[in-house]
Symmetry: D2
Subunit: 388 residues, 4 copies
């Protein structure tokens, strides 16, 4: 029942299962990945039930590779993917690792860095197309500041927009069948990152030349870091028709980016999230942007990979239980029942406005009515803990 | 030099200077305000140099007042304002204090509550127009959840939109000369509040029937609570042409809503914010949505009011110093200098794309170049601390 | 199986089930409690399976009561408790609600306030003894600052100590059979509260005249507010023999004090906590210092009370499962196995030091060994979610 | 006036000025340091006015060095220090970088790792003595968990204690003239780190065999990460006579460890801290445990070093101003004036207890009295911003 299959559309970034465990205070604890490892990993991920892998340009092709080396690497890896039956549904550009991006990429104050970032993004998109990616993600990890005095903050937003407008132009001109998905993060590695939340990205997208071309790629841990609700952010994206892709993982709020196994900390928010995706028919990839604890060896990495998918499927079954639970559904229905038959008044017309003005509301009685949310939450918790 | 004048457009909410000091763990420490106090306060605020006061409907008119009582109260207060020479540039609806709103107002699951909220908002807007308000703020303090299972999260966004579309219809139909400004907050008093950041509001606004009619009212403390940068949020709003109003105060991140005196904690962010407003010619009200420490008596409250305005003016002078400082400005200019003459390539044309592709970038050299941000930040700090 | 019984020692503060739902932004949503309600509640709590109630002096006796009124109230309530068969295992002093404490109680800068606080604490202890309390809790909700310049921070610690030394002297002199338990909180209602963590309290206790007399009362939400691990704090208290009492509830990190139903948010930390209490034979009260959502009526309050106890018992059963799970226990044992027989070297003797110096360690091999923590965590999660 | 001199006792960790700018998302931006660089840096730091450098064993001696290599390296560096006139007042052990410590050092579940950690600490102490260090710091960066099920949390505290007891035994046996200082951190690089606050360390120390031998090394950023007040933590340490060393830097709360230039973010807390150190006659090192922004080249690193020291001296002068400001001092004095002559009653004697019981307190009047903290804070802010 909890065995993943390709149709579940579970994907892993090339950088996730291969994370060597380096952190700001420690060296690697696992091998730094090479192409041979990635080719082998493709088979392993397929065996575990994954649908595909996603990649940054430099996960696959070193930033220093010649065109010939690049082509050779891509061909080798494509064969491994084909052999494994894995897709590359999403690709993205690494615009954060190299020192050239230390003060930004699309929003770097230095125009030469911005120019290079555009070029690198074009090449990254080309690579994505070559691998049949359908979604191209942008995470601007270095687009931000520690020293606000060093950048014009309004101008930085304009520069960010200019970059996307350029790349939309490029993609259209090339006739590429790909869409963009923007990923927000509040901080780390910069003190403050521009457009720090999924909501901010949704606002920004509407200022682009072609907003329809661009959606979001919300990440669980990134909203959680700021103590924001990931399900609420995803709900806004769904409402706006902008949930093009999603990054699943886990995280304790108010601290460094942990990228933990999905549903290993916040069971309840993970449940709400899966409910949202399933109830709203989300059909894109479920991408696990996480990595194994630094304490693990390779075997632990595969257990980590399996655990992400298993947890999604466990929660998916819990969602089905929740939706089929008569007592729970009765509580949910009661909460929104239109007892007074006023639902029809909520669209503006002069008549509806008059009707609302004329109406008498017993606000004391409405205020005294219990909402039974303690009970609903307890039943939900019982269900989650498997005692219902 | 630091004496406020009406043209500085400093305003205070009726609920700010009159805050009686109650908190979740303690009773009032100052008198609960009555109309007589507010009339006297108008004179006091004018004397201190304020431009106006802002109000929730129920700051002035009790929720239980009859129409006749309401009219009498409004007339009395309007006279006090006129005598003092104060404006009411902004008004808003209290949709959070009464128990009827305990599970939401515009997004309440109960349709009767939503209907009542719409009616109350119409009446609040009427009151605002009567007092010549130009901006109508919406802060949905109860629009959110502790128990996500109790609300359809996507449907909640739709309900939120329906309410604004209704009220836009109402205002247009009445021919009212007023604009809406939406105020975000991440949490408190709800576990999670819908549309929790200024960015989320900017995204939401674009889904309304008439987005041009609606902007944002960012609040310093509300972004700070989530550890987000208030200046960055305001920059996005300025870029989008949506900064219709602003709430100034201060706050330590990661905790309860403190509503401290502006620029009493985060001097540096306050400086960056004032720089943003002044450099971008923001001409709206500078509204202090804060309150005096609970330790203060009435004398302390007026010192608090004076302090907010004084701090803005101190920082405004620091901004002028910063902008006139040759060493600082040289650093800022150097950071964005177009050394390689590439600025013209950043708009998409096939030729520009080809030029970028053809160009050689020495990314090692670019990555090694120091950005002098430690120096710039130190000089800024010296300036802020008055030792430059 | 999940039905609470008195021997489970579940207790509720008088202020918890009777919380009327007021918050910084809203009025009450439930009735403000009176003595009649509390007497009735005693029966209800007993019926639900509780062991006792805890109280602040002013939960029962108004701060303005005359001695005669006080005695009448105490007698009435004691009868209700006796009728219900409930104990009062813990009592405490309210030194935060009245305006007199607005800038502190034991650490108030004003000596008159400090003197009054001591007097009130003596009277509160007398009341506790009258009700047979065995633990007297001190939560210094107002002991702190927003303006550090207003207090000598080192002197404030001394004043805090002076107060406890005074009260230890008082209790000993009276021959009272009671112990003190200090409760920490990082902030709210003060900007910063002195001795903000359970750890800080443990350090402070050792500076008192009679440290053995004083332990801690850690609260789940208070450590969580600062993003600290509650189980880790409790473990330190257990190690030090200082876990005299415990406050259970739940909370999202990095925000206002939520006091949610125990194990309604952080299932995993709640499980770890219950494991710690059960495995270490904690025999004191399990006190739920929480309150029902503001959305609830009285029925919802009793569901809330029942839910707290049920959740503890559900998790207690999960702990038994965890301890009996052979696969899990094998992983746990393997993690700490003394493969190299070095455990005996870890006490200092010159010989042991020499042996360690002489020994060869293959740190590369040790570093490469997987710890299987992904697997252990997944199995724990499966168990918690009821799918194991 | 702001020029640092050796008598100011400003020190820098070898790992601070030499930080190459690697972070979890990016490669180095500055050269990885070698011995030649450190020798040159000694001269540079002396020139800037520093008093000394502090070091982890492996900052100087690679973990793989042979004894002969070690001695050669130490001799070379010692000569450079002597030439520069720099001291090494503090040394410490790196028990976090190597993979062997991935699940802890003194608290590792694996006894072999604990044994190795003890050995490494003994050798590190030997190195410290060789360099005439007077303080030996312990920061247990890997002592913690992501998976609490993998460790016995109470046993972990015992293991931690066993390690310190061992090392105290070792140091005494060797006759070393050195004291220990324990450094707390709430999280990062572990999900939760044991003994996460300075307060927790103060509690722990009292459980050691010889508590007098051990104090704390509080770090600004580490308390700030959890939103705790660094000045309050330092005040508790000063009160307990345990402030053996201090780590100065800066940090935004609720996020990854930033290690920013001292007094570059939280001017006000930095001022309070300097006031605390100066007013209480702290005479130890003022160690800057920070690093330059990743955007900087070597020139920027030296500007960063100079900035840390300059900021301390700027704030030290502000403290002198504050202490000499008659209006401010009158406010401070008024806050704590013993108007009612009760200060003598605050030591327990039966007579004092009776006197307090007999006394009449006008708590309404006390509660209504304004504390003038808005004014005091405004004057302090004016002073900090240089406009007073």
């Amino acid at each position: 029942m909890y065995t993943p299959r390709p149709e579940d559309k579970f994907t892993f970034g090339m950088w996730t299962y291969s994370n060597p465990g380096r952190d700001p205070f420690g060296d690697t604890t696992r091998a730094v990945p090479n192409l041979e490892f990635h080719c082998r990993a493709a088979g392993k991920l397929a065996e575990l039930g994954a649908y595909g892998v996603n990649l940054h340009d430099n996960d696959l092709v070193p930033i220093t590779a010649t065109p010939a080396e690049r082509d050779q690497i891509v061909a080798t890896y494509r064969k491994a993917l084909n052999d494994a039956g894995l897709k590359v549904p999403m690709a993205t550009t690494n615009m954060f690792s190299h020192a050239v991006f230390k003060d930004g990429a699309f929003t770097a104050a230095d125009p030469t860095v911005r120019a290079y970032a555009l070029r690198k993004a074009m090449e990254g998109i080309d690579l994505g197309m070559e691998l049949d990616a359908k979604i191209y993600v942008f995470w601007g990890g270095r687009e931000g500041t520690e020293v606000d005095a060093g950048k014009d903050l309004v101008e930085s937003v304009k520069r960010y927009r200019d970059a996307f407008n350029f790349l939309i132009g490029y993609v259209k001109d090339q006739g590429y069948n790909i869409k963009f998905a923007l990923e927000a993060k509040p901080n780390e590695p910069r003190g403050q990152i521009f457009l720090p939340t999924t909501g901010a990205m949704l606002g920004f997208i509407q200022t682009l030349d072609d907003p329809d071309f661009v959606g979001v790629n919300p990440e669980f841990a990134h909203e959680q870091m700021a103590g924001l609700s990931f399900p609420h952010a995803v709900a806004q994206a769904l409402d706006a028709g902008k949930l093009f892709h999603i990054d699943l993982n886990d995280q304790a709020p108010g601290r460094y980016d942990q990228d933990l196994r999905f549903a290993s900390v916040n069971y309840k928010d993970a449940f709400t999230l899966v409910k949202l995706l399933e109830d709203n028919g989300y059909s894109g990839s479920k991408h696990f942007d996480a990595h194994a604890y630094r304490t693990e060896d390779e075997e632990g990495v595969w257990q980590f990979c399996a655990g992400n998918m298993r947890n999604y499927l466990i929660l998916k079954e819990k969602v089905a239980q929740f939706n089929a639970d008569a007592e729970i559904q009765a509580l949910v229905a009661e909460l929104q029942a239109d007892v007074d038959g006023v639902a029809g008044l909520m669209t503006y017309t002069p008549d509806n406005a008059s009707a609302l003005r004329a109406r008498s509301f017993d606000i004391e009685a409405l205020g005294a009515k219990g909402r039974k949310l303690e009970l609903l939450d307890q039943l939900t918790g019982d269900l989650l803990l498997g005692v219902r």
